[in-house]
């Protein structure tokens, strides 16, 4: 326990006393409450900041009351049609990345499993790229069938195949080898990137720009259409994820013990793999490869509230949303008036963080 979280609950003796007895559920509930407020504040600032500088408070007040006097008509349009979709898309994508990271880490029983690192995002990316390039060609009939859901669906299939292969390769007799998982992730990532490279080779100029922009990861092109294309996939997973919490908790003791504790391990693993693939696929489909949110957020929260997934999963959804809005704010400010793709920001923060985890826990590859 760090001194900072002791300060946080300095006045709340009951919370502290139960944490000292090893029961961190009261701490976790408090943290979730604070994160919920922080997400609301972050969302407000995200709506309020941008080229037209109306204050966050004025904007929120105007939106709540419908009173137009505080903001101009132009501002209203800018906020409702440009910033709002960007904000809500950022929140659900961040939540989705963090929750799928946490589920994957629980399923693989190690804190280094992240859809971005072990090739699931790359698999989803291959699925998505194939529709960006071939959607009007070979894959046109499928594209027509799925409409706006074609890219998310293809990303889901790509993510599903990679997650499944990864689990098969790295898990033997119910035990998952971290080293095998990371190496298998590298191999799968290389293979999918090769196919993506082939698509890049075939792509025309317009498609190339799409692919390139999308590969770096960005929420700049957010529209309500994109939001509605993925919200029906991401929101149910985030909301229903806590139902998987008990199973994930039991799985941390290994598959055999999870079975002893009453988990139908085979069925549970399938559900978890599909959930990871669907939420990663959906996030990748609309915003491209935004890495490291799925590893940084769950890790920070485990330090703060412990690994109990009943609290970890909702906390990840909230902090994931906050982190993405935060990274987006940096992406917009740092080279203003232009903006950086957000994937560059998350990788710059996240990759050193990943190395720091490795440094702190050298023994982890021997698990």
């Amino acid at each position: 326990m760090s001194s900072t979280d002791l300060d946080l609950r300095g006045t709340l003796d009951g919370v502290r006393a139960s944490a000292a007895r090893g029961d961190r559920s009261a701490v976790a509930r408090l943290v979730i409450f604070i994160l919920a407020i922080a997400l609301a504040v972050a969302g407000m600032f995200s709506l309020g900041s941008g080229a037209t500088d109306s204050s966050a408070l004025a904007v929120t007040w105007a939106l709540i009351t419908g009173d137009d006097s505080a903001i101009t008509l132009v501002e209203r349009i800018v906020i409702l049609d440009i910033r709002a979709p960007r904000t809500v898309l950022g929140i659900i994508v961040g939540a989705s990345l963090a929750v799928s990271g946490a589920i994957m880490q629980g399923l693989f029983r190690n804190p280094l499993a992240d859809p971005g690192i072990v090739g699931v995002s790359a698999g989803a990316g291959l699925g998505a790229s194939s529709f960006i390039v071939l959607g009007s060609g070979v894959l046109a009939p499928i594209s027509a069938f799925f409409g706006i859901y074609d890219v998310p669906f293809a990303a889901f299939i790509g993510g599903l195949v990679t997650t499944f292969l990864l689990y098969r390769v790295s898990t033997q007799n119910g035990r998952t080898s971290v080293a095998t998982m990371l190496l298998a992730g590298i191999a799968l990532g290389a293979l999918t990137n090769a196919f993506t490279g082939l698509l890049v080779f075939w792509a025309d100029d317009n498609q190339l720009r799409d692919l390139n922009f999308w590969g770096l990861g960005s929420v700049a092109g957010a529209t309500w259409l994109k939001f509605w294309a993925v919200a029906p996939i991401i929101l149910p997973i985030i909301i229903l994820a806590p139902m998987m919490a008990k199973g994930l908790n039991a799985m941390t003791l290994g598959e055999a013990t999870a079975h002893h504790l009453g988990v139908n391990v085979q069925v549970f693993k399938r559900i978890a793999i599909v959930a990871v693939a669907a939420s990663t696929g959906a996030a990748v489909a609309v915003t491209g490869g935004i890495g490291f949110v799925g590893i940084v957020v769950p890790h920070l929260l485990r330090l703060l509230i412990g690994p109990d997934h009943r609290y970890l999963l909702p906390a990840c959804a909230l902090l994931g949303g906050i982190m993405l809005l935060f990274a987006d704010a940096i992406a917009r400010q740092i080279v203003a008036p232009a903006e950086l793709p957000i994937g560059i920001v998350t990788a710059t923060i996240g990759a050193p963080f990943f190395l720091w985890i490795l440094l702190k826990r050298r023994g982890i590859l021997d698990m």
Binding site: R24, R175, T252, G254, T257, H260, L261, V265, G306, P307
Partner: protein, 267 residues
């Protein structure tokens, strides 16, 4: 009540358990012994429903193959040989994992966790991180987790089973006796206890019923005095053994007879 008939376990080409027929009664402490590789752990894993097997295992009359994992978890707890834990849980949180299934009242759950930790002599440890414990402490915490899962030995009028795979392998002598006494008490209160042990003297002291395995088959099965004979043990373990009475009390001891001339059979 646990009844196994004609149980076979095969892994790829290896035939590990070859037609085992055994029964373990509620109220009794049943011990499975045998040399390394005799199939003790594999048999236990079949009896708990963890691995695939041929044959029949009935728990309180129900075929465990038709039971859902959730129902099995209501009727039996299992302490594995070693437990891995990949995230920094506190001792309290680990024991609470025993209460994974079903709907619970948080207050009562916390009481249960406290009682289970007290039972294994780990009361002061609830706030410690599991990964910082010694091997023996970790093993006692795992036992507390299993106990919290099947706390009452008789539930809904039917006996529960407690499976222990080498529960005392990393404990000091005081805690070996403490843990086996705890298991014996569980049996005396109506539960069915099935343990895999290596220590023949503790087996002699604590067991009501001993099953001696050799090469995947039951060599002998009965009361400790009937099974733990020098002749049986020499046949199975392949080294000369002495069995004798303890000077005071009802117990007997089992010792290997090691002399300069002892020539151990290669097994």
């Amino acid at each position: 009540m646990l009844q196994a008939s004609e149980v076979h376990v095969r892994f790829d080409s290896a035939h590990i358990v070859k037609g085992v027929d055994i029964a373990a009664n509620p109220g009794e402490f049943t011990t499975i012994i045998g040399p390394n590789g005799s199939g003790k752990t594999t048999l236990l894993r079949a009896l708990t429903g963890e691995i695939k097997f041929d044959g029949t295992v009935l728990m309180n009359g129900y075929d465990i193959r038709n039971a859902k994992p959730r129902d099995l978890a209501t009727w039996r707890g299992v302490l594995p040989q070693s437990a891995q834990l990949s995230f920094p849980f506190t001792v309290h949180e680990v024991v609470r994992l025993g209460l994974t299934m079903g709907v619970h009242d948080p207050e009562r759950d916390n009481e249960r966790v406290k009682e289970a930790l007290a039972a294994v002599d780990m009361s002061g440890f609830s706030g410690r991180f599991y990964q910082e414990l010694s091997g023996g402490e970790a093993q006692r915490v795992q036992l507390a987790r299993v106990l919290s899962q099947v706390w009452e030995p008789v539930f809904d009028g039917r006996p529960r089973s407690l499976f222990l795979d080498e529960p005392i392998s990393s404990l000091d002598i005081k805690h070996q006796i403490q843990i086996l006494s705890l298991a014996l008490d569980y049996a005396r209160r109506g539960g069915t206890v099935i343990a895999v042990l290596h220590d023949l003297n503790l087996t002699a002291h604590f067991s009501d019923h001993v099953i001696l395995l050799n090469r995947g088959q039951v060599h002998s099965d009965g009361k400790p005095k009937e099974v733990l004979t020098a002749q049986n043990l020499e046949q199975v373990y392949g080294c000369p053994m002495a069995v004798g009475a303890v000077p005071r009390g009802q117990d007997f001891f089992v010792l290997p007879e090691i002399t300069a001339a002892t020539n151990l059979e290669a097994s």
